[in-house]
């Protein structure tokens, strides 16, 4: 069913055509470069869309209009204008900073983000990095980001950045446990770590329906922990601007700061994208058992639209949280994780295992 939009035959055809024209190693190289450029462009475009969305959503919550001057009534060109501005800004270097680590840190952060980004299942046959331990790779790659934050805070040689980095380190390492456990819960349900197969498993029903109670709990835990992982309010203490001016990236300017900023928004998208993959069926359309006509119409909508649509819905949920709640304090953040979320996610893991063994899931 619904193979209209399967990208795999197209990609295979491109590959075989290129192999016919040139040696295979050259074909792979050219394809690699093309895919790399594609990722970068997607990354930048998505960041612009997300920043625009954040501004508009935040404005709506705050009885404001949001950007409305540059680029027509909707202010569509405001973010591109800001991007051009930040590209032209000077990158300062500080007198007593550790020059090498100071320059390296933003690249670590953005590298972690791009690696994770490449694993998202956009469509059937539309995954860029495909491996049989995909979700495990996502967890591993996303952990590199915290290293960049720690380095940024430490190498800037400033007290504010140091406090911000230490906060961030303590928080992200803690919340990775909950993320890992809730991901593991869904891996048990699906019986695989391969991202495409996790999505394929949801062909006849999204995981959040198939795994019902434990899946729903794992979803909520994942959203909370994912929000913390993306360093967003109410967990934005690493850059709590009212306390530490800008936290770990206080001393960065120009595009170096831009990398942190980009990574923050893309991490939001990635968090939402993984949530969609694990719980909301990835690029699978919405099917309701018994309504054949409805299901067929849903099948005609391309998978990439399903995936992006669902992801933006989850992004909106996360933005809603951000613009409603005040910030937690560091000890409260850690108490929430170690006393409530982590034991709860262990419990959910056990429940899911038992239910899977006894066939209580759909």
């Amino acid at each position: 069913m619904f193979d209209y939009y399967n990208l795999e035959p197209v990609l295979m055809w491109i590959h075989s055509t290129m192999c016919g024209l040139m040696p295979e190693w050259l074909a792979f190289t050219i394809e690699g470069i093309a895919v790399g450029i594609f990722i970068m462009v997607m990354y930048a475009v998505l960041a612009i869309i997300l920043i625009y969305m954040e501004r508009k959503v935040c404005a709506a919550f705050q009885c404001r209009i949001g950007p409305d001057r540059v680029g027509g009534r909707g202010g569509l060109l405001q973010v591109p204008a800001d991007v051009i501005k930040i590209l032209t800004k000077e990158i300062i270097s500080l007198k007593n900073s550790d020059k090498f680590l100071y320059a390296l840190a933003p690249f670590l952060v953005i590298m972690a983000s791009i690696l994770t980004f490449s694993c998202l299942p956009w469509n059937k046959g539309g995954e860029i990095l495909h491996m049989n331990i995909g979700i495990f790779f996502v967890l591993a790659a996303s952990s590199i980001g915290v290293l960049g934050i720690l380095l940024a805070g430490w190498s800037s040689n400033s007290k504010y950045t140091l406090i911000g980095a230490v906060r961030s380190g303590a928080m992200i390492i803690s919340y990775e446990l909950s993320i890992g456990l809730s991901v593991l819960t869904m891996v048990i349900l699906c019986g695989t770590m391969d991202i495409q197969e996790i999505v394929a498993y949801q062909e006849n029903g999204w995981n959040i329906f198939k795994g019902h109670l434990p899946a729903l709990m794992a979803f909520v835990i994942y959203l909370i922990a994912g929000n913390a992982e993306a360093n967003r309010a109410p967990f934005d203490l690493a850059e709590a601007e009212q306390e530490l001016t800008a936290g770990y990236h206080t001393e960065y300017s120009g595009m170096h700061f831009g990398f942190f900023y980009l990574a923050e928004y893309l991490n939001l998208f990635i968090t939402a994208g993984i949530a969609v993959t694990l719980f909301l069926g990835g690029w699978m359309p919405l099917h309701i058992a018994g309504l054949e006509g409805f299901n067929t119409i849903m099948d005609y909508i391309p998978g990439v639209i399903w995936f992006v649509g669902k992801t933006f819905f989850v992004v909106f949920l996360l933005m809603w949280i951000r613009w409603t709640f005040p910030r937690l304090r560091i000890d409260q953040v850690l108490i929430l994780e170690w006393k409530y979320l982590m034991p709860l996610s262990l419990l959910v893991l056990v429940i899911m295992t038992v239910m899977k063994v006894f066939g209580l899931v759909f």
């Binding site: 934005d236 009212q242 001016t245 709640f325």
Partner: protein
């Protein structure tokens, strides 16, 4: 004429006399309102101690003089009232009187390398040319002790040792609400000690006042605590009117009271906005500003100004109220009553907000009185200190209102006191707005106002505490000395007591709930 009744004590008896008054069985003078440094020229340097008994409301003034201008010493009273510590530093900074027994005799507002003492009458105005060098803050303070044989011995106290990890919160910082710098020693996330460094925007208003005529001095009051502009100016006008014996019309009294309460609502809405923003909730910030904008529009129609309004004048108010004033104020109060629920829904009931505020930064009643933390901060600790109740002025003895007090003394209590005061202010305005009597809004005064000799003082309840005006007149058209009791200075001084042992994030939240405004501290 209600000139202050001043009791003169000898410098060497000052401590014993103050101690006797402080621990008096019948009327303990447990609240030191202010210490006003003075330069009486020939008579010498000295200070006036304004004190009050919180139980009965009785006020007293002590005067201590020392004739030796070069080595001026007075005994410190900081063992009796904690607030004396920072007030004595202010007197030292401006008059060069050293207080024996005060452990911290650094300058308070001026640079440490400042030459001379600017509020002395013989101060050379050219002695401190613009200094572009960076200021180094010493980590030690000087303490002077009076030996039994009459000699003075100096000693050094350490503020921050080499083992302290000191972080500068300010002077440029999003949450200090102005140019305030707090040197904060931290242990991980926990605060060990806070040392406020003041004076970044000090304008020398008290010195300027000495060369301005009385109507001219009014212009500077709005620039003290700009969120209590009406209250400040009201206090100074009242003081001059009382001293000169000017009776103002009832209409002016009504207008002044209504304006004061509007200003209080304005300030408390801003308090709400800033507090939630300090705690990371950006959305409620806009709620407060949305309603505050309406108040500013109403004020603008009548006074012509939004922040600096110059409305009260000696003898009444500057202009009559706008024809739409009454209707708009009534509409606004109706609107505010309907939206205040949103404020509580999004913030007061929020689980994170409660976690952050309840039980955090507790200030005991004794400490609040001893530190002179007036206003909502003191009332949240159970100290009934509303000047409107205890020393009524304008129309406050004719209207019915509740003084909001709570007993917890934590950040949440300070927050709730101010939120409830918004509603009380609405209640006061509603009683007055329809009954403004006809009459003059301003009585005619003489072209040149001269006050009789003597000391005069008034106090009003400003948005964030007791604002006082202490005036000494020598019969000229200029004040000999005009001192303002800052509402914010004791509150900043409170930070160290309240924040010790709390987290950095709490420092910001506590600073938000104490609600100080910097231009009022740096007069």
């Amino acid at each position: 004429m209600n000139a202050d009744n001043i009791i003169l004590v000898k410098a060497e008896d000052l401590y014993n006399e103050a101690s006797r008054l402080r621990y008096d069985a019948k009327q303990p003078m447990d609240y030191l309102r202010d210490i006003v440094g003075m330069d009486w020229g020939e008579e010498g340097l000295g200070a006036l101690y304004y004190m009050e008994c919180t139980a009965t409301g009785t006020r007293m003034v002590l005067k201590a003089v020392t004739a030796d201008r070069d080595n001026a010493f007075l005994p410190s009273v900081c063992n009796l009232w904690k607030t004396a510590k920072i007030k004595e530093r202010e007197v030292f900074d401006f008059f060069g009187i050293r207080f024996t027994g005060n452990p911290d005799m650094r300058r308070l507002f001026l640079r440490e390398d400042w030459k001379g003492y600017p509020l002395r009458k013989d101060y050379d105005m050219n002695s401190n040319p613009l200094n572009m060098e960076n200021e180094e803050n010493a980590d030690v303070t000087e303490e002077y002790t009076l030996m039994p044989d009459g000699t003075i011995k100096g000693k050094e106290n350490v503020v921050f040792g080499s083992e302290d990890f000191v972080v500068n919160i300010g002077p440029q910082h999003p949450s200090t609400h102005g140019v305030l710098r707090m040197r904060t020693s931290i242990d991980g996330e926990n605060i060990r000690r806070i040392d406020p460094i003041l004076g970044y925007i000090h304008r020398g208003i008290e010195k300027m006042n000495e060369s301005l005529t009385y109507p001219q001095t009014l212009a500077l009051t709005d620039r003290l605590d700009y969120l209590s502009a009406h209250h400040n100016r009201h206090a100074l006008c009242m003081c001059i009117e009382q001293a000169a014996g000017i009776e103002i019309s009832e209409r002016a009294q009504y207008i002044r009271t209504i304006m004061d309460e509007l200003q209080r609502i304005d300030s408390h809405l801003l308090f709400y906005s800033c507090l939630v923003m300090d705690m990371g909730g950006l959305t409620p910030f806009f709620y407060g500003f949305r309603e505050r904008e309406m108040i500013l529009d109403i004020m603008e129609e009548t006074t012509g100004g939004r922040l600096i309004q110059n409305y009260n004048v000696i003898g009444g108010v500057q202009a009559d109220i706008h024809p739409d004033f009454q209707r708009k104020v009534k509409e606004f109060i109706k609107h505010l009553r309907s939206v205040i629920k949103d404020y509580h829904d999004i913030f007061t009931g929020n689980v994170i907000a409660r976690q952050r505020l309840v039980g955090v930064g507790v200030l005991s009643r004794e400490d609040a009185i001893s530190l002179g933390a007036t206003g909502g901060t003191g009332r949240a600790s159970g100290w009934s200190n509303d000047v409107r109740k205890h020393h009524p002025y304008a129309m406050y003895d004719k209207v019915d209102f509740r003084e909001i007090t709570r007993t917890e003394g934590d950040s949440f209590a300070r927050y709730m006191v101010r939120m409830d005061e918004i509603m009380e202010s609405c209640h006061i305005i509603e009683q007055l707005i329809d009954n403004i009597p006809e009459g003059e809004f301003r009585v005619k005064t003489k072209a040149i106002i001269k006050l009789p000799e003597g000391n005069f003082s008034t106090s009003v309840e400003s948005s964030r505490g007791e604002f006082g005006v202490m005036l000494e007149s020598h019969g000229d058209k200029y004040p000999y000395r005009l001192h303002y009791r800052s509402t914010g200075l004791p509150l900043v001084d409170t930070m160290d007591t309240v924040c010790r042992g709390q987290k950095i994030a709490d420092l910001i939240a506590i600073g938000g709930t104490l609600d100080f405004v910097i231009p009022d501290i740096d007069r």
